[in-house]
């Protein structure tokens, strides 16, 4: 069902947490590694918990993480600014990428 009408990322984040139900409190325990680019990568929480990132590590290289980011933007409509894509991908490759790809 199409029901959500979300004007901006900021409110979307709040709504997403409200919709998440009982696992919300647990979700806050999932912490991304503290490294440059983390703040940009945290935009992902608008749509999903960030355990998706740990779960998909550490086997994607730069091309793999770029494909994932592009899928989120192009297929799923994630409102990520163009200039944020590279820092996000770099953060993912550096912290959750295939060891040889760093």
């Amino acid at each position: 069902m199409k029901t959500a009408r979300i004007p901006s990322l900021a409110t979307a984040g709040v709504l997403a947490w409200a919709l998440a139900g009982a696992a919300t409190a647990q979700e806050s325990k999932v912490v991304l590694k503290d490294a440059p680019g983390r703040d940009k990568a945290m935009q992902c929480v608008a749509c999903h918990s960030v355990d998706y990132i740990q779960m998909n590590s550490a086997f994607l290289d730069k091309a793999g993480w770029t494909a994932s980011a592009n899928k989120m933007i192009n297929a799923f409509g994630a409102p990520i600014a163009k200039e944020d894509v590279e820092p996000i991908v770099n953060y993912l490759v550096q912290n959750y990428g295939k060891p040889a790809a760093k």
Partner: protein, 417 residues
């Protein structure tokens, strides 16, 4: 990543053993169990290090602790101990969502709309009307996520890194979809039937999760709109108040919280049909969804034959003289199981296991075989299910980009001491 070093060395060990064809390297493998949802401990390739380190047991409301893959959208896997019976309990049944907006629906408020350009008239049904106006029927059937065992793919592919528990078997009670569609009247030009649930995305631009079936599958007598599971109302996380049940077909088609059915004369073109849930053309012998076939790929359709040994853990020690009790479950897409065979000599010879009670051709079927142990040393236990059409499990993974249809034969490493 607390376990990365251990996992890496374990992976090398397993890879080495699989390749060498010798059992000399098995001995150091003792302490493999203990990590939540480890597939290495079950005699498979291990899920990605990051997935293994991040997952834990967590109980959603109304559920027992399940293996948490992701919190939001919720993706939770059934631990192996619940597969030691052929029916999976409702409170242990796996949870899989694509979109984070999951409403709580009151049974009294729920309505199912039936429409589309290929029906004679649009109709809507309340839950009471479904229960009163149609014949209630039951089917015992396996619901398995298309990506069950994706985490076992080598090389790994992105997605929810499921172990072996994105599946369950239940007695589904509801009404036949064909009876509902008959009331609306299906026109001769009907091609597909499209299903939408009440779940929705957080972002307006995210494609809503909508799936279609070939009209002949929708009209199959086993395709149900189910409102009960194992004698109880559906759990919230499994589609309350009503969901689609498509025996033999992978879970992606089993739309939860079903609210809309449309019979249409053209192929459904949304992202979840045209792009997601596709397998390379010709790689699998499963039937084609003809109106959805593209040049390079086609939708996943029915499940491949598979089995799971549930009684043993890799690395376990068995006292010499005591038998190895090999027990588990097997399933396929509805032909029914012809046999489950067990090997303890790396597949050189196979012994037939005893099959348990037949709960129907779409159900899990139990198997059991007791193997005497006479000598000390390492043993590899394998199980291989074969369906009544002769389809059997594969020795080598059929790799595909989205990580579907993993039915590689399990290899459990035991030590007789």
């Amino acid at each position: 990543m607390k376990n990365s070093v251990v996992s890496e060395s374990r992976r090398r060990l397993l890879a080495g053993m699989a390749g060498a064809g010798t059992l000399a390297a098995v001995a150091p493998l003792r302490a493999m169990a203990g990590e939540v949802g480890s597939t290495g401990a079950l005699g498979f390739a291990e899920i990605p290090d990051g997935a293994l380190a991040e997952q834990l047991l967590y109980a959603l409301p109304g559920k027992v602790p399940l293996i948490k893959k992701t919190y939001r959208p919720p993706n939770f896997e059934t631990p192996i101990e619940y597969f030691r019976t052929p029916i999976t309990p409702n409170n242990a049944f796996f949870v899989r969502y694509h979109l984070a907006g999951i409403p709580e629906i009151k049974a009294a408020d729920w309505k199912l709309a039936v429409g589309g350009d290929s029906v004679g008239q649009e109709l809507a049904f309340t839950l009471d009307q479904l229960k009163k106006d149609f014949e209630a029927v039951e089917v015992t059937a396996v619901c398995q996520c298309s990506g069950n065992r994706r985490g076992l793919f080598e090389p790994h592919v992105p997605g929810v890194e499921w172990g072996v528990g994105a599946m369950g078997n239940a007695v589904w009670r509801g009404v036949r979809l064909k009876d509902i569609l008959a009331k609306a009247g299906v026109k001769g030009d009907a091609l597909e039937v499209v299903f939408d649930g009440a779940d929705h995305a957080v972002m307006d631009k995210t494609p809503d999760f909508v799936k279609s079936l070939p009209v002949e599958v929708a009209l199959d007598e086993n395709t149900l709109v189910a409102f009960e599971m194992n004698g109880q109302p559906l759990p919230h996380w499994n589609g309350f108040p009503a969901r689609l049940v498509v025996p033999g077909w992978t879970g992606t088609y089993w739309i939860k919280q079903l609210v809309s059915i449309r019979v249409i004369s053209k192929p459904e073109g949304n992202f979840w049909m045209s792009t997601a849930y596709r397998v390379p053309r010709g790689k699998f012998k499963t039937p084609s969804f003809k109106s959805q076939v593209a040049t390079a790929n086609e939708p996943i359709t029915t499940m491949v034959v598979n089995s799971l040994i549930t009684s043993l853990q890799s690395g376990a020690q068995i006292a010499r003289g005591k038998p190895i009790e090999v027990k588990g479950i097997a399933w396929d897409s509805g032909a029914g199981l012809a046999s489950v065979e067990v090997s303890t000599d790396l597949g050189t010879s196979w012994q037939r296991a005893k099959l348990g009670r037949d709960l129907g051709r779409f159900s899990f079927r139990e198997f059991a075989l007791s193997i005497p142990t006479r000598e000390r040393g390492s043993v590899v236990v394998m199980a291989r299910a074969t369906s009544r059409t002769g389809e059997t499990q594969v020795e080598q993974l059929i790799h595909n980009p989205a990580g579907y249809h993993h039915n590689v034969i399990q290899r459990l490493y035991l030590e007789v001491v």
